[in-house]
Symmetry: C5
Subunit: 88 residues, 5 copies
């Protein structure tokens, strides 16, 4: 999983039916020091995240697990909202 | 998932039978600011996208979900046509 | 999926039994403009491709779909021979 | 799998229910010479690892295997604590 | 799949039980010209490979296929020992 900041959302009228009720958010992945790290991506949300929040997200088929048994065709999903992280 | 622009298509006479009725489109992934981001790829389409349109696509086995129960051997599929996206 | 040129083949006496009757080809991925793009890799072939041909290949578990029900331990497979591609 | 050093942990009140009892650790992947190699990430732990330890972790759906039959939505999991590694 | 040279091994007392009888080898991926290409990684072995040998390995869930029905939590596995490869 990776830390990320929610920076926007996507509006799409024509999309796969299994995506139709889902929020599509634009994420900027973050490094452990809080700086931007890598390309922006589009993820589905299952935990109520919104623009401006820090989250962590999962890549791959696992991103569709929270919607089981619906087979959501996504490869990225927000699975937690970060309160804070600590470096030891 | 990633934002992308459809920039072309691929013609292939000899291909896996489970790909035979599918449109094969060439995509240029996009960053959140609309600039090109990363390598071009070939994706199948299940939402009626065409050259010139902005879409979002999924990577991995999830790309074959829209064709279930056919096991389409693809690792990239367009799953939505983007009306617009907003950065918060 | 990605476009690629078949540039060689691999000979391996000791390998997983489920790979034993398969052709192992060395691929150079290509960008949409036909230039080399990224690292060479080894892929299995299910469409009769040979050295010198332009193909497209799939990464991940999907690469084993054409051999179902045999569970071929591969993460890359050629699924089509490219006649040509067009940029719009 | 990759070698990594555990450098921190993540606190998240709102997260997927299947992640709720799991430790979320921040990892810095390592090259074979022990230097940092690539981006930090967040992984679940199933072997009792803690901050400061050297571990190896797995990416992808395999990261959820240790929690089966719970379908943990993770794409990275620590699966071993490294005593040492040797270069031949 | 990718070509690689086996450059070392990993000793880990505490690890996932499904990894306990497996050899954990450190691999350096190779380009088609035999030069180093990309980061070192840790892979399981199912074909009897040892340090110094040239192999090819598979990434992803496919790496656990040779151990079926055991669900080995690995994302990289050596599936063949290379005799030689030829560039056409």
């Amino acid at each position: 999983m990776q830390l990320a900041r929610v920076i926007g959302d996507v509006v799409a009228t024509y999309k796969d039916p299994n995506l139709s009720s889902l929020k599509l958010l634009v994420l900027q992945p973050l490094a452990a020091d809080g700086s931007d790290a890598g390309r922006t991506l589009v993820a589905v949300d299952s935990v109520g995240a919104g623009v401006g929040e820090t989250v962590f997200f999962v890549r791959g088929k696992e991103a569709s697990f929270p919607f089981y048994p619906t087979e959501v065709p996504t490869d990225a999903g927000i699975v937690g909202i970060v309160d804070h992280w600590d470096l030891g």
